[in-house]
Each structure stands twice: as structure tokens, then as C-alpha cells.
Symmetry: C2
Subunit: 345 residues, 2 copies
């Protein structure tokens, strides 16, 4: 995914040299970042705020395929999906640490690309990179990201906070990242069979971007502050709408009623799913990797959210005894099934 000119060998630099090279130009922007990279630990100060911590491990050939993911996108995505967890608590992300394990045969320029992508994501969300670790990997590329953020106690939205009757809402649209992945996988197969055929992704930019370059919804958190809305429960959609809604139901000891016709699906996602013989609704329910926010608000907030273009009201929370229901477009009642991604299957 990178050309071969101007290669610098990592072993020439050494670990300290590499860290210095990658991080010496980083400036801390958050008041809470007292000390970043360069000591045994970073020092942060959150004063009257609670600290939020989230971490993700990304492994080559499990979470990403270097044959079609450019390294810069990978660094960007690794940070975005982790920040997304902080926003999903209704908090503001302020710091990240990034650890990278890679083959010593990787040229410096490749790591720079990865780091550059990570730093673009940090910059976009005003997040400071404050630490990490670099190491050779005798196997594939390994990326570990930890995000740190903050929120006032009353602002924090736990999964367990949903109340019966709450409106179930979702930001953006769903299923695109999954359909984008199908498209990339198909083009990879064609390429593997005949390397002279260039990938044909024309007109599919949106769904390919949703897979390669997801955007954490900090803007939705800011919208909540602007509208003076506090979600009772929230999480980000990483495993798929159904699986993630199950987590809210289980943690809140409630059931739910979801309306198929209300689930936001982009027309390009819809069409491309059909081309692949996939049910667009299933893609939205079980596809995952959308990194949209799934949240519940009291019905009294209906007027505040109903006209927000980027928020869809897709159902409501019910008593646990009513189960988890999906009402199809034709009005039939189905049991909602969680078919999220199983990392071990």
C-alpha cells in the first residue's frame, strides 16, 4: 500500500529514535494534558470532571486487510472508532495513546503514513496524542488505541439508563460500512484472480468511505448540548443495531419495539445491498461498523429531536416482559435477533 522509494530502515532509528521522529512535532492542545509523550506515564488533570477510558485492539487480517486499506486510513479509523466509545458515553474525548507493533521490515515511511492518519483524526477532534508504545512484531501489524475523555457526572449516558417508553434514536444511516466491505472484498477477489483489472468502485464512494473512513459522532454530542437533551442510555453501533440495542435492553432490563420502516438506510447502501442479494434491513441490523450513536431519550424530548435531519426515531423501549420486537414494513411482528459479529467464529 506504499511505494518503495525513500525507504528508511526502522532498525537504523531504534525504538527511541522512532518515537522521537514520530512524535517530536506534537503539540498538546487540551488544558487537561499536563504532560504527554516523553516520560514513564502521561499526566492529565480533569478537575471536577469524571475521566472516561476506552481501549481497542486492532489486528491485521482480523480487523483490517492491508491489501485494500491504505495505512493512512487505517491510522485514522483506529483513532476514530476508539474516540467513538467516549462520545457514546456522552463525553468529550481529550487524549489518546497509540501503540503499534510492526515488522522490522516495514519502512519508516509506512509507519509515518499510519501515524499521519492517526494524527489527522486527533486534530479533527481536538484530541492530544499523549503516549504509546512501538515494537517489532514477528507477525502482522498490531494497533492498540486507548482513548481518554471527560464528562460531568450528570451528563454521562450509561447503557443501563434507558427507561420504559423512551424513544429509541439513531444518528446518521446504517448498513453502509458493511455493504462497503462486501464491495471491497469482491474487488479484492477480482484483483487476486487478475491483477491487471483495476478495482471498480465508481459511484460507490459513500459506502466505501463509510467502511474505510468512519467518522465518530462528536457533532451529535455537541448537538445534545445545544438542544439541552441528555440521552438516558447511549452506545455506539459497532456490532450492528440489533446487537447493540440488545446491550441497552439487557443493561436497562427492558424490551424494545423497533420499526423497520424507520431504520435510516442510504439509497446507495440499499441499491448495493440488493446488487449483492442482501436484505438492506439485515445489513443495517447486523452489519456493524457504522459508528453511529444509538440512544434513548424520554418522550418529553420528542419535539427537540423530531426535526433533526441527522437523527431518526426508530422505536421505543418497552417492559422487559414484552421482549425485543421488530415491526416489519408490512406490519408483522418479529422477534429481534442479535447477530452481531462474533470475533471468535
Amino acid at each position: 500500500m506504499f511505494d518503495n522509494k525513500e525507504k528508511t530502515n526502522l532498525s537504523e532509528l531504534g525504538e527511541f529514535g522512532l518515537i522521537k521522529h514520530l512524535t517530536s512535532h506534537i503539540e498538546l492542545k487540551n488544558e487537561s494534558s499536563v504532560k504527554g509523550i516523553g516520560d514513564d506515564a502521561a499526566v492529565l488533570d480533569f478537575k471536577e470532571y469524571k475521566t472516561l477510558i476506552s481501549t481497542d485492539l486492532l489486528l491485521e487480517n482480523v480487523h483490517f486487510d492491508l491489501r485494500y486499506v491504505p495505512l493512512k486510513h487505517l491510522g485514522y479509523k483506529a483513532v476514530q472508532v476508539n474516540l467513538s466509545d467516549i462520545y457514546a458515553m456522552n463525553g468529550i474525548a481529550s487524549q489518546v495513546t497509540i501503540s503499534i507493533g510492526m515488522s522490522s521490515k516495514f519502512p519508516l515511511e509506512a509507519i509515518e503514513e499510519l501515524y499521519q492518519g492517526a494524527l489527522i483524526a486527533c486534530e479533527k477532534f481536538n484530541v492530544d496524542l499523549i503516549g504509546g508504545d512501538t515494537s517489532t512484531s514477528s507477525q502482522g501489524l498490531v494497533i492498540s488505541v486507548t482513548s481518554i475523555g471527560y464528562a460531568k457526572e450528570a451528563e454521562i449516558a450509561y447503557r443501563s439508563g434507558a427507561k420504559e417508553g423512551d424513544l429509541i434514536c439513531v444518528s446518521g444511516d446504517l448498513g453502509a460500512a458493511y455493504v462497503g466491505l462486501q464491495l471491497l472484498e469482491r474487488e479484492k477477489q477480482i484483483f487476486l484472480e487478475n491483477p491487471n483489472i483495476q478495482p471498480d468502485l465508481e459511484g460507490k464512494d459513500y459506502i466505501v468511505e463509510r467502511q474505510l473512513k468512519p467518522e465518530a459522532r462528536r457533532d451529535v454530542i455537541e448537538l445534545f448540548r445545544f438542544l439541552n437533551v441528555k440521552p438516558n442510555a447511549m452506545m455506539d453501533i459497532s456490532d450492528g443495531l440489533a446487537s447493540d440495542l440488545f446491550h441497552i435492553c439487557d443493561a436497562s432490563k427492558l424490551g424494545c419495539k423497533l420499526f423497520e420502516e424507520k431504520i435510516p438506510i442510504d439509497p446507495m447502501t440499499y441499491e448495493t445491498a440488493r446488487e449483492f442479494g442482501l436484505d438492506p434491513t439485515v445489513c443495517a441490523l447486523s452489519g456493524g461498523e457504522d459508528y453511529e450513536l444509538l440512544f434513548t431519550v424520554p418522550q418529553s424530548e420528542y419535539d427537540k429531536v423530531k426535526n433533526q435531519l441527522d437523527i431518526s426515531i426508530i422505536g421505543y423501549m418497552t417492559a422487559e416482559s414484552e421482549g425485543k420486537q421488530l415491526i416489519s414494513k408490512s406490519g408483522n411482528v418479529h422477534e429481534l435477533k442479535a447477530q452481531g459479529w462474533n470475533a471468535f467464529s
Copy 2:
């Protein structure tokens, strides 16, 4: 490293099942741990304290060899070496996150062992496990640990805080972990050549333990509080005394004078190094992985530290222009060389 009876397949449990299985019995003990595992992010509250964050990535065949490291020891060590970074800031560790990537062929019992070791380390230091990530790895075992701790502003010991004339001190003894590794490597080679020969580590318990089961020096931090001593600069010895002292010199813009005869080396380390034809002083200077604390204190604190059995005064900080000197046992002046571990060589 684990027997084959009672295997449970990870794919039967799935990711959520595995996390639940491993973490459901965890009780939070620190007041600062508001919410641990089970939401998008953990929630912490440090009130008037600064937050300290440190992270390490450990990769199979780079940082550990499963052929001679039992999984329980590995989990224990992974946590210990990371907590060590928090103590090295003169802080108290309070939380960790642990992410693990492993082959789906690993039985549940193997992960339980790893986790058990990590939890024993947490328990020993009164640290809460508050999050993490689990994933299949198509390559080797991957462990990522992030530690969180706290300290008052005035307590924090940065690398950059050393002053000219400061006494250079070190806790415990040095070189044992490196010599222990040589021993384990030798026995591995013998075993690979003839699997019927059992490893001969008799009488070498101490140095083998120093390699397999290092102990972070929380007790030294407590001793500082007890003695009312605040180190001007501090770090933990992970790369070797010389390399780590270089970091303090460079960050503090100072030189140093180190006395070979003052460097604490255990008799077993000394003897075993000699058996391997190694210079014990070089093992102490460049071996690494001791996880002892290297710190400087003002000369006015001499009376407080001189009689502490577990602390050795090994030199003092000089002006930068005097360079970094090692005074040998015979009184010769050598230039101190940093030959720490290069992760990319």
C-alpha cells in the same frame, strides 16, 4: 504451557460471552473507579489528583516466548511492568485495562490462566481491572495493557527534574532479570535438542523469578511517603541502568558520575553471569527488565536514604559538560555507554 484436559472452545462463547466469563466476578475496590467493565468506556474520578496514564504492547516471540513462560506468569508480568511506569512517576496505580488478541484455537482455560495472573497482580497492588478488548489473532498472542494512576502535582517525579549534585539511587539489585533470561534461553536450546532432558534451574530460583515474575516497586513509593522524601527525577529500569540514566541526564540536561562498586548486584546474579562468561557489571548496566526504580534526591536527603537496606546510592548528577562517567572498581574513568535494548534490531 497448559494441559489439554477440559478444553472449552472460544468460538462457543463468543466475544461477549468470553468477556463476561472472565470479568463477571471482578469487584471494584478504588473509590476512583466509578464504573468498570460493561459500557463503552470506564468512568473514573480523580478529584484533586492528576491522572497518570501509561501503556505497553507485548507481542509473542518479541517480548515473551510461550515455550518457557507460563501464561499465568505472563499475565502477572504484563500488569506489573505497566504499573511500574505509574510508580516511576511517584504515583499510585489504581486501574488497568487489558486487551488480548489470541488464536481462536486457544482453549478458554489458557486465557483464564493469563487473566488469573493479571488479576493476581491487580489484587496485590489494589488495582481495579476496568476495561479491555478481546479478539482473535491470526498470528501470535498479543497483550496490550494500559495503567491509570494518580498523584498530587507536587509529588510527581518527572525524568527532567534532576538537579546538579543530586544523589543517584536505585532500589533492589540489578542484572538478575537479564541473567535469568540467559539461563532460560540455554535450557530452551537444550530442550529443543533433546526434549527428554528436563530444565536444570535448581538453585537459580531468584534470577529466574526476576525474569518471569518481576515485582513493581510500589513499596518504594510508600517508603518515600513514609520517609517524607520526594525524588527530583525518577524512572523505572526497563532498558538497563545505563540507558535509563541517559534518559534522566538528557531530560534534565545534566551529566552523571556512576561508581561501579556501588551498583547493587545479587551474588547469584554475579556467579551465574560469570558462568556464562558475562561481565556482571555489564549485565546490570545494559541487561534491562529489572523494573527497579532509578531516582535522584537532593544531597540534603542523604541521611534519610543511606540506611535503607533496599536502596543503594550509586553516584551523583553532574553538570552536562562533565559528560556521563562510570568510575570502575579500579578507579579508572570510563565514558558511560547506553546499550539498551533496541526493539528494531
